[in-house]
Amino acid sequence: MKGLTIDYATLLPALVPVAGLVLVLVADLVNPRLRQLPYAIAGVAALGAAVATVPGLALGGGSTRETFCLAGGTSTRGALPSVEGLPQRCLWQADALGSTLQLAAAVAAVVCIALAWPRTRRRRPDDSTREPVEAVLLLAALAGTVVVAASRDVGTWLVALELATLPVIALVALSGRRSAVAGATQLLVTSLVSFALLVLGVALWFAGTGSPFLTPDAALSSGGAFAAAPGTASVAISQASTPVVFPSVSGGVVALATVLIVAGVGFKLSLVPFHAWTPTAYAGSSVPVATFLATVSKVAALAALLVVLRAVAVLGTPAVLSIALLASLSMTLGNVMALRQDDVVRLLAWSTVAQAGWVVLPLVSISALGVGASATYLLTYVVATLVAFSVVAVTLRDRPGRGRSITDYDGLWQRSPWRAGALVLALTSLAGLPPGVIGLVGKITALRPVVAEGWVWLAVVAAVNAVLGVAVYLRWLRAVITERVPEAGPTAGGEDHAVAATTGRRPVVVAGLVLASAVLVVVSVQPDLLLRLLG
């Protein structure tokens, strides 16, 4: 089509995972009995995606890497009626923030794939499809996440968001346990209804703004611009030759569209009251999938949300009461419930709910500051959660069936100090205590826009929840650093050893843990790397 330019290099972060998933399918077709190959391909693809996002990280200011642009090419540029200097419209637009989110998603996916690495190298039976399917679904969800972070039009946005969600539902169900099915069911119905409402929101957006783009100028067109000068202000894209005038619309439609989108994405972020699936699905799925749900999925959700909120930011809406309500509810309920969990995965699930509240907290100020703070907090949460889940996965890999309960971590400090150290760093980061400096930085960053906008009650709620959160994570930490109660008897120990001997292969899983911990340590030592997002 005329004017549409495609820059494949820019698209690489999305293309690599897609190519990877096709490759997995082909490889499975050729030799279906290899157990590790799908994961190897998936890991390489995710790594490739991570590498491909790197050029986008250095983008400063407002510059972006973009492609699928409609007004590209000199011939059409002149023909474009320049309405208030509207920028060109691109279906892919990755700036530094978007690239960082993409990178985070890719790295988290790499860790998840490492955690899911099969236990044995034995060839799998003919009728098992688990490994390639898991790899394909993981890669597809990663691709969706990457795309959604860079999408600027409702079409791509919807498809990518669904691409990031649908495979995860299948992943949860894939382990086939009864609890997994329960989790998948709950996740499924929640996500279906949410998606339907999301589409409704998008339709409202389109109806309200007349533009299929999630861009600031589209948002502006709903409000003042068209109403003020209906004769001159018009949206005319290359093929619409006759200038047309949309009826001036009330901002209410855009408002409803925005809150519906927030609610529709909120389920993915596990915001209260869209959260109910979270503990069930986390507890039901395998640990790598739970990790994926807690990290990559959240990145996708926030990326999707930010695309919309950055568009409406120009409306100058100072604050959104709905988001404040969701944030405070999420923090409170998440922390209160997490306090009562003895299963670490459920604890992390509820902690996710609480942290989701923190993630959207700065968004009460729909501004560049709020958006940056929210992304910063999300990244700190993702990194810390990744480490915590990795530790759980390694512990479970060591001694299957033991590692889900907090008491299983008694005396971890003595058994494996490195793992315990990683866990301590992760939990303190989540709680916002030193030595998890990055968590503290994230919390302060998140609170800044709130305070700047004068939301005193919300800041108070957040502060109370920060304290509650400390209690949540200290429960687990206490187990880690306290003395271990002697084991029940020698027979149990012997069994442990036998089990450990049979399932001793875990170098890749440990590598995943090491990677995640390395990232956490780096951002803890050098918070600037994250804070740069704000600038």
Partner: protein, 211 residues
């Protein structure tokens, strides 16, 4: 009030009525059939609005595929034929649903009606024709379109794998009955009529192993 308006009102009334019936009927299968009617008449509404392609796709995909899938699913899950009191949630929840549904309608209507008040579409000179749509899909919108293909592929793979895993497990349970890992197997055999369901489904090799 033009002719098209009158036609649309008629079609729309059918759509709304059948939609209402599909969410209130006590017959499980009837619900799916009423949905069929509703979606079909919605396709008619698209035609009235001058979007032939959308209407056709609606007929093909929704009526032809999705509703048929729903019907299949109802049968596979042994949906009872005839009125069934058990398909509805408790009364308080239905009341809540009615309130929320009413609120949704009211909210949307209160915003959309002013938005479209007086807006008309001149369908004799349609702004978007089918060739234009085709060009847009494969031109402007080629990127999401390609992604959509990936989504469909992944959905198929996922759906296949999910349904297959359980079949496998049921099969595995049957093969070595003393396997200690699957207490649920015994559970499902404990309550009588469900056992019949499980065996009925699993004994159809065609359903599960179809790829």
């Amino acid at each position: 009030m033009t002719t098209r308006d009158i036609v649309f009102v008629a079609v729309g009334a059918v759509t709304a009525l059948s939609a209402l019936l599909s969410v209130t009927t006590k017959h499980v299968v009837h619900a799916a059939l009423w949905l069929l009617v509703s979606l079909g008449s919605l396709a008619g509404a698209y035609l009235v609005l001058g979007q032939e392609l959308v209407g056709l796709v609606q007929l093909l995909v929704y009526v032809g595929a999705i509703v048929v899938l729903v019907l299949f699913a109802l049968m596979l899950t042994r949906a009872p034929i005839g009125p069934h009191a058990e398909i509805d949630t408790p009364r308080w929840q239905r009341v809540a649903g009615a309130v929320l549904g009413g609120a949704t309608t009211a909210l949307l209507a209160s915003l959309l009606l002013p938005l479209f008040a007086g807006a008309t579409a001149d369908l004799d000179r349609p702004s978007t024709t089918t060739p234009q749509i085709a060009q847009a899909i494969f031109g402007t919108w080629v990127w999401p379109f390609e992604l959509l293909s990936v989504l469909l592929l992944v959905a198929l793979v996922g759906a296949f794998a999910v349904s297959r895993i359980v079949l496998q497990r049921d099969g595995a349970d049957r093969h070595d009955a003393d396997h200690p890992d699957h207490p649920d197997h015994h559970d499902s055999h404990d309550d009588g009529d469900r056992t019949a369901a499980t065996t009925a489904v699993t004994s159809e090799p065609g359903t599960g192993r179809v790829g």
